[in-house]
């Protein structure tokens, strides 16, 4: 079984600092990490491989510095980790990124393509289903459990707002996974040793037989007209004090009541 996992490198928001003056993110303070949701996708890919046999190939689209992240997936046990990198791809929106990833998946060969449910920088959740549409395969989003899998089909549980949809699909299929699906493994010692020596192959747009008119900022349907830091009214909290807990609770209660939040 050929398993492909598409992952993304994002700023590390767990270590990101807030500028106390402006209340905005100091993005330069953050390093980069694998998108947290993608860890679960890699793990699920490895688990499917353990059950079904085959290979796991990780693909990321981005600059050369994403190689370190790719190596960490080798440490976790994936077979190959590919960097899709080309100047022509720069500035692609989700529509164009999905096209490029779809072409890369075609080159790699696939029965199952896994994605994290969304990337924490863009928060769009669009690349998984869009890639599936380009490949004309089904997409099942928000997967929290793979119930059954065979060479021909897969049954999954999807986390919807009101409960769980159980859905069966033929292969090939694309899945986007949520955090609940598993507990990602750490890099093993053997994996780390392999990763040390591993040099991720780099695929260009030409390598994946991609059309330059489908990618890049120029060919992306959506444009960012403007972006700005969300202004938060920092440090304006009214601090409620009192001689004891009951007194403090009393003041808070009357404030909330005054706002009509508590009836």
């Amino acid at each position: 079984m050929k398993i492909v996992v598409c992952i993304k490198q994002v700023p590390d928001t767990t270590n990101i600092k807030i500028d106390p003056e402006t209340g905005t993110l100091k993005r330069e303070s953050a390093g980069t990490v694998m998108n947290p949701f993608d860890m679960y996708a890699v793990e699920e890919g490895l688990r499917i491989k353990e059950k079904m046999g085959g290979t796991v190939t990780v693909i990321t689209m981005g600059p050369a510095m994403a190689k370190e992240m790719l190596k960490s997936t080798i440490g976790m046990g994936v077979d190959e980790a590919v960097l899709l990198s080309d100047r022509l791809l720069a500035g692609s929106d989700t529509w164009a990124t999905s096209y490029a990833l779809a072409k890369a998946c075609e080159k790699a060969g696939y029965d199952i393509i896994l994605f994290g449910k969304q990337a924490v920088d863009g928060d769009t959740a669009q690349v998984g289903p869009s890639t599936a549409q380009y490949l004309n395969i089904p997409s099942l989003t928000w997967v929290k459990k793979v119930r059954e899998i065979s060479d021909r089909d897969i049954t999954v549980e999807r986390m919807m707002e009101d409960g769980v949809d159980v859905v069966k699909s033929s292969l090939p299929v694309a899945l986007t996974v949520v955090k609940e699906i598993n507990e990602p493994r750490l890099e093993s010692l053997k994996g780390k040793m392999r990763a040390k020596k591993y040099d991720p192959p780099i695929w260009t747009l030409a390598d994946i037989n991609g059309d330059p008119n489908m990618v890049g900022v120029k060919n992306s349907p959506t444009r960012v007209a403007k972006s700005w830091n969300a202004v938060r009214e920092a440090g304006k909290a009214e601090m409620i004090d009192g001689p004891d807990a009951a007194a403090k609770a009393d003041v808070l209660f009357s404030r909330l009541k005054g706002l009509g939040i508590i009836k």
């Binding site: 928001t13 863009g122 869009s130 380009y134 033929s170 060919n219 959506t222 969300a230």
Partner: protein, 336 residues
């Protein structure tokens, strides 16, 4: 790729009328309300797209909520949500009727199938929008959305392609009061037969007990963090939540410690919420948490550390021992 496209052929605002088991998702009405507002300067009609099985009778509700027209696609194969079929049908309709704008809720359903539509109709899609503006000169919809978990705002447009498509966050826009006397047209267009070929099939729905505390939809959320110290102590949080009529939330630290299930997690790797009232207990306020709750109307922070960043986003703060303050607040609320 971008062949010159005659944008003037595209007119009208569409709202995808999301329903699950015959129940409309509230966001449908919110979007119809917003669509009416946008339709005024654009001088166009508002249509709802209703897809399902045996749902035609629901169409008048959409007219009452603001639709001038309802496209109904009623088919047994559409009984349950299916990404492929819903995408095929909406894409086919869009190709036939060429709307200028398509809006759907940024829900589990909307975010799952609309990306597929955007590929099929060669148009852009903007996720999880929270505000709209119009550039009347180019008739461009300026789609405003948070990124980076809400710390960065972006204004996005689709200058050369049509339709302009967005998924929209719920509880952001207001529905207009239902008016049963409103007039509208119900259309049942024909859909290409091959749109109904799917390779995935719905098997069953499992109602989750957890759904009763769906934090994404709650008006009040009481959340506990690392300061709770243990899973047992979350009882204090659920007691307060019950007294106040709210849901129980948690920070990643609490979930990772195994004190409470992931479905309660608020933050960048959990759920993004914007309730009327958010009470954070023993949560220091890491960026990853703030990203998921800072758009709440009123935030109350209870923490023993006066320097905790959570106070930076709070309207009211109490520095002290949550194990005393939370029960005291619960008691006070019970007293009324």
């Amino acid at each position: 790729m971008a062949d010159t496209l005659n944008k003037d052929e595209y007119r009208g605002i569409w709202v995808f009328a999301e329903q699950r088991r015959g129940q409309f998702h509230n966001v449908t009405f919110e979007l119809l309300g917003k669509a009416r507002e946008l339709a005024e300067p654009l001088k166009c009609e508002v249509s709802a797209v209703l897809v399902g099985n045996g749902i035609e009778a629901k169409a008048p509700e959409l007219i009452a909520a603001g639709a001038d027209r309802v496209y109904v696609v009623d088919n047994p194969k559409l009984e349950h949500f299916n990404d492929e079929l819903y995408a095929n049908v909406v894409a086919d309709l869009a190709k036939q009727f060429k709307p200028e704008i398509i809006l759907a809720g940024a829900t589990a359903v909307g975010r799952a199938f609309l990306p597929r539509v955007s590929i099929q109709v060669n148009a852009g899609l903007t996720a999880d929008c929270t505000a709209f503006e119009l550039d009347m000169e180019q008739r461009n919809l300026l789609q405003i959305r948070p990124a980076f978990g809400g710390s960065l705002m972006a204004k996005i447009m689709t200058p050369e392609r049509r339709p302009q498509m967005s998924t929209v966050r719920y509880k952001v826009f207001k529905a207009i009061p239902a008016d049963a006397s409103r007039k509208g047209e119900i259309v049942k267009p024909s859909i290409k037969a091959d749109c109904f070929n799917a390779r995935s099939e719905f098997l069953e729905f499992i109602q989750e007990v957890e759904a009763t505390i769906n934090i994404a939809e709650a008006d009040v959320i009481v959340s506990g963090g690392r300061g709770m110290g243990s899973g047992d102590n979350f009882k204090l949080i659920s007691d307060l939540a019950r007294a106040i009529g709210g849901a129980v939330g948690a920070s990643r630290a609490a979930v990772d410690s195994g004190w409470i299930k992931y479905s309660h997690q608020v933050g960048q790797t959990g759920k993004t919420v914007s309730p009327k009232l958010y009470i954070a207990c023993g949560i220091s306020g890491a960026v990853q948490h703030l990203a998921g709750m800072q758009s709440s109307d009123t935030i109350v922070a209870i923490n023993k550390d006066p320097e905790a960043p959570i106070f930076g986003v709070a309207k009211y703060g109490i520095v002290g021992d949550l194990f005393q303050i939370v029960p005291a607040l619960t008691e006070r609320i019970k007293k009324g």
